[in-house]
Subunit: 325 residues, 2 copies
Amino acid sequence: MDLAQRLLSGDMRALARAISMVERHDPDLPELLLAVRPSAGRAHVVGITGPPGGGKSTLADGLIERWRTQRRSVGVLAVDPSSPFTGGAILGDRVRMQRHTLDSGVFIRSMAARGHLGGLAAAAREAIRLIDAAGRDVCLIETVGVGQSELEVMHTVDTVVVVTTPTSGDGVQMIKAGIMEIPDVFVLNKADLPGADRMIRELRAVVHEAAHTRPKRFVGSDGGAAGPAWEPPVIRCIASEGSGVDELVAAIDRHREHIEQSGELQRRRVERYIAEVESIVAEMAVQRARTALRRGTIDIPDDGDLTHADPYAVASQLLDSPGPG
Amino acid sequence: MDLAQRLLSGDMRALARAISMVERHDPDLPELLLAVRPSAGRAHVVGITGPPGGGKSTLADGLIERWRTQRRSVGVLAVDPSSPFTGGAILGDRVRMQRHTLDSGVFIRSMAARGHLGGLAAAAREAIRLIDAAGRDVCLIETVGVGQSELEVMHTVDTVVVVTTPTSGDGVQMIKAGIMEIPDVFVLNKADLPGADRMIRELRAVVHEAAHTRPKRFVGSDGGAAGPAWEPPVIRCIASEGSGVDELVAAIDRHREHIEQSGELQRRRVERYIAEVESIVAEMAVQRARTALRRGTIDIPDDGDLTHADPYAVASQLLDSPGPG
């Protein structure tokens, strides 16, 4: 049985191998992705992000446990920008989750993706497709860092959960700054710490205001679809005690139901599909340019120094060269 | 006088405006970059990176001071992946450097670059070109984070300085793991902390070994050029007291001289030029694809759902569509 078939039959070792292909950008990957594509599109893809120290991993662990109680199979992808400086910390964080490794209903994998032209988001999109096609009911994407590329990863999921804490104070600032247009569900974790009540009130007020002043970009991005807009709920959690996790699971399910009915899910899928196509276009174009460069079919300035040529003219010449083969 | 002329005459307000154009990906930027291109290529571009808490900003501050004593003009670019979570910390770190703002010989600017198709590295390359063309003798690039995209930024400079400390212990691990192929100069900062001597010895041993076993990729990447290979020096610093900074300045100058004479500088420039062309090719191709998508000139599956089409086939159709206009 080939890799695609094994993956489609739910073989987790095949899934692990396929994700390694994403990581190392294997030339056989496009074919595999194409083969599994018709079987994908069923999983609920949930993203979890937020500042370090907010308890994302503990919360993810709680979510996995609840989903398993509901007999849903889970695929977890920890997206890791693969910094050589933080490698140790990342592994440390995930120790807790490793207790699920004996449960075949839980697949956990961290993915580094260096040098992927489309960036982390493109790599995440591919890995999600594979997890989805392998028949997982829920696919949970956790970002390790909080940089720009990690935020872009959140554009590849159905439901974005942003985790903040009373001490970070970032949640409110984030929304006020208009930067965090992406959350579908807010979690105030460590809600037993001082200041939690005030922060919940502030978050709810800000979310409510945003829902009514910027309905198109913020708040579920319903973009004019039928039905009421989605106002991101703010869930109190103490993840270390398991408190609030049931409410979080329910909110995530409600969001999925909402976007399914409002047409937002399909809209997000088309958007993601176009992003995927654009990243393939960029990659194809660069491949074509590299081939042309190797063939030496471009005009080099009289002094023989390529770097003295107008890079836009060179690029345009390369783009219009005949493709490889 | 237009912006290009003002920038070329060394007007720092024009430079600041031009870098804002890089940040927001202004459509007039390509023309500006082209206009200033012949005047660039003179500055020594130095990158400084390393784990958080290693004292990069204090060290940068010390470098600026020494360079100013030598009457060299300086442009500093703090490349910021623009995480909404760390915004405050970034500004805080830079307070110390702000004392140079009254000195017209020092230009300091942080640059966020969201959504640049070529990533942070492409944005950094453009900003460096501008700083260079504005006549700065030294252009210092400091990365704020330590993610993948920040490491890629280091491929755009002439001399990479990696800062580590006795407590981080990352320096040795980094090289051993074969990940950090990029440093040209190592700094062990906070060298008054316990463990510094041992770490210096370890770093030097590892660097020396690497210089003799992997001469092509590591150690100045001389790639077969004439002359002896570059063995990255390991400099002891206590940046907060200014100790070791003179040695660091000298090591940076020695490296520049080395790569100039060995031909490595030109090799790096050609490499950077090709990376720039590739990023323009990718961008042009995506623009072309977007135009074609808007024109609706692609085949949509019978069920009317674009996402059911083979994305590779769609991409290839888009890539071969006639360009905009």
